[in-house]
Each structure stands twice: as structure tokens, then as C-alpha cells.
Symmetry: none
């Protein structure tokens, strides 16, 4: 279960965009602590996240928002000052290592103007930071939310790797070799064949791709041998 | 060099937020094709990305925006319909494998309402897609930009991978296209060209590789046209 918590958000558009992102990345719950903006205005920016925002749970204080969570992750663009353990951070891409073991995860995002207070951060288990340009690492609120939700979604929804079957690879190899034999000089430069085969083996993504590439190679062969049998 | 290209953006806030993200993630150039919103309004949302937006290059047509790029990556929330090679996508987390070899990379984002046209996508080398909730995968424009820039930023700093120069990629493209034109039927199946070019762009590792592959393709061309000049 994944809960997004916004603490005293100030921008209508940010809250709306975040509701939309919650829908894009399958967040279970949206909590808003003491909103400082007009949530009716926010609905205009929520697109198909409308219901999520409409059903958001509005609470008056921070403690009510984090109740019942097994892991609470605060977020900040200010992190990693030497000697300040509270602001020692995990990086956004490390989040899955941490939440994979938890059943109820809360992501807590602070005010656009001043972020989370030290007291709020201290009530959480981790501080998460999104690395960016050291000269200007401060992301807009909803864009920070989007990136963190995306990182979590990535490993959730990771689809099986694409796949090229043995037979298709054999055919790519076969036709590359045939073409190589047609163009090589007497003392053929074998690296011609090798480089082409390797590039195609590396670049081909799946069987659909492979079949088209084989077709390309076969058509070249037919063109050269004037033997358009296909 | 990284260039972000917005094609006919419609939302003031999106353009402003994107300028801010360009600053957050050290983008080199922002191009805007034929903006459909008031860029002066956008400046209000750009925070410290103000200068980037102020210096954005505004062009009238798509071709001017992609000029000089060695790898052009279109983006879409609509991807991967079986049989539609043009909409076959790389995932957002795969982008670094592809751009690490290029010196001038363009990321192209379409209109909020209808995205990029098929013609625009076909002028690019890859289509990138951010996986999300299958029921509602459509991210707001600026949030999509943020996620892609974040992915690229994440691996910046990592050791520079091998490198393929612009000219070699152009030559691979050129000869693939020439060969395609020699073998296509009257109503050519464009996916033949697309699949072959994409596989070679993905598979080629460095200039040494690239030169050999170009040589392979050129020899095939000479063989077909019986014009063995080399």
C-alpha cells in the first residue's frame, strides 16, 4: 500500500498535478495536511486523477497523516550536510530497496516554500533526496512527486525483458554471412562480417524486429543475385 | 549536448516548468516549435529556469528544430501496438544506453492535446515511452519531461561510454536508406528501413564499429549497382 502525503501545499496546480500522477502510477491513498490552497481549483489540473483528489483525506495535523504506516519517507531538496544525520539522505533510485520489504509505505512531501520542518522529518524513517544540478537542485513539488512515483512504478511494473528467439538470430547470422561472402575480396576482411553481425545481435529487440531485419537482408541478397523468388 | 524540443506546446505552466527542469537537470538547449501559448506567462512558472526560457530558440517548423542532432528521440504516451514499428518504443530507463554513444541528442516532446504526428515521429531515430498505469498512462507534459531528464541525469557522471560520431551515424542512416530504396516494392514498407536503422544505431558501439558497418553497407550498394569504384 502506497500513500502520498502533502504537507500544507500552497499551489493549486501542484496538488492537481499530483492527483493525476497518483493515478498515472497507481498510488493507493492521497492525504493532504492542512492545505494552503483552494482544492476546488486544484481539480482543474487533475485530469483523470479527479477522483483521487476528490477522495483525498484532509487532516489537520502531520501525526494523523502518518498514522498506520510501516515506513515513512520524508523528502527534501536539502540534504547531506556533513554532520547533520537528520538530513542524511537516500537517493531516489534507492527507494525500492527500502520499501520492498514494507506493507504500508508513506511518501511525505513538504511545502513548496520551505519544505518539511526538522520536527516533521524526525518523525519519519528516511529522508529521500532527488539528485540534480548542484547549482539549482530544487525541483518543483509535483515534479519531485512524479519522479519518486516513477521510480517506484519502474520496478513494480517492470515487464519481462524483450526476447529474440534462437531461430531469428540464426537467420540474421546466416544472411549477414551470405551477404558478406558476396562482397568480400579474395582475402576477405572477416571483421566486416563480425561487426555487422554483432551490431545487429545487440540492436535487435524482439522477434518482430528480427523478422523485419531478416527480410531486409534477404531482399538485399535477392537483389544481388537477381533471384527474386520471395 | 542535450537539446529539449517542445513542439507546439499549449500550456503556459508546462513550458515554464520545463524551463525550470532544464535548469535542474543541466539541459544545454531549449527549442520551441511554433508555441501555442504565451511564453511571457510561462516565465512566471520558470523559477530559476527563467534565463533558459528567455534564451529558448523559437522556430517555425519541426525540421529547423532537429537540425544538427546526431540522435533524435521522439516521445509518446502511445506506444507498442503490435505491427506498428513506428510506435515501437524504448523505455525511459533504456535511454542512457542509446544516448551515451551520441554527441548531440535531441529529446522531442509533442503537444499536450495530440502529441507528435506520425510524420514527426518518423523523422526521429527512436520513440521513447514512459511506462505507467495501463488504465491511464498519459502523463502531463512537463512531468514526462522531468522523468526523462532525471533518467539522463542519473547516469551522467558515470564513466563515459564508447562513442559514435555524428558523421558515422549519418552514414549508417544514409546507406540503410539507399539500400532500402533499392529493395522496396512500389508501396515500400517503411518499417523495413526503420527496424534496420534502429537496430544498427542501437547495436553499434563506437566509430571503429561504425566505419566497418558503413563499409559493409556501401559494398552491398556497390554490388547491387555494379559500381565497384572503391
Amino acid at each position: 500500500m502506497l500513500r502520498v502525503i502533502l504537507v500544507e501545499p500552497e499551489g493549486e496546480y501542484n496538488v492537481g498535478f499530483i492527483a493525476r500522477l497518483c493515478k498515472n502510477f497507481c498510488v493507493d491513498e492521497l492525504y493532504i495536511v492542512n492545505p494552503k490552497c483552494d482544492l476546488k481549483e486544484s481539480l482543474k489540473f487533475s485530469a483523470k486523477g479527479y477522483d483521487i483528489l476528490n477522495n483525498a483525506i484532509i487532516v489537520n495535523n502531520f501525526d494523523d497523516a502518518i498514522k498506520g504506516l510501516s515506513i515513512k519517507i520524508a523528502t527534501s531538496s536539502i540534504a547531506d550536510y556533513e554532520g547533520d544525520i537528520l538530513r542524511k539522505s537516500i537517493k531516489s533510485w534507492e527507494i525500492n530497496d527500502i520499501i520492498s520489504k514494507a506493507d504500508k509505505v508513506g511518501l511525505i512531501f513538504g511545502r513548496e516554500s520551505v519544505g518539511l520542518t526538522r520536527e516533521e522529518i524526525s518523525k519519519c524513517d528516511f529522508l529521500l533526496h532527488i539528485p540534480a544540478n548542484p547549482e539549482y537542485p530544487v525541483l518543483n513539488l509535483s515534479h519531485a512527486v512524479g519522479i519518486v512515483l516513477y521510480e517506484i512504478w519502474k520496478t513494480k511494473g517492470k515487464i519481462r525483458k524483450k526476447y529474440v528467439s534462437y531461430n531469428e538470430l540464426l537467420l540474421i547470422d546466416k544472411y549477414t554471412n551470405i551477404l558478406y561472402n558476396l562482397i568480400k575480396k579474395t582475402n576477405g576482411d572477416y571483421s566486416l562480417y563480425l561487426a555487422m553481425k554483432r551490431a545487429l545481435f545487440k540492436g535487435v529487440e524482439d522477434d518482430e524486429d528480427a523478422k523485419i531485419i531478416v527480410s531486409f537482408l534477404r531482399k538485399l541478397y535477392n537483389k544481388i543475385t537477381h533471384d527474386e523468388k520471395e
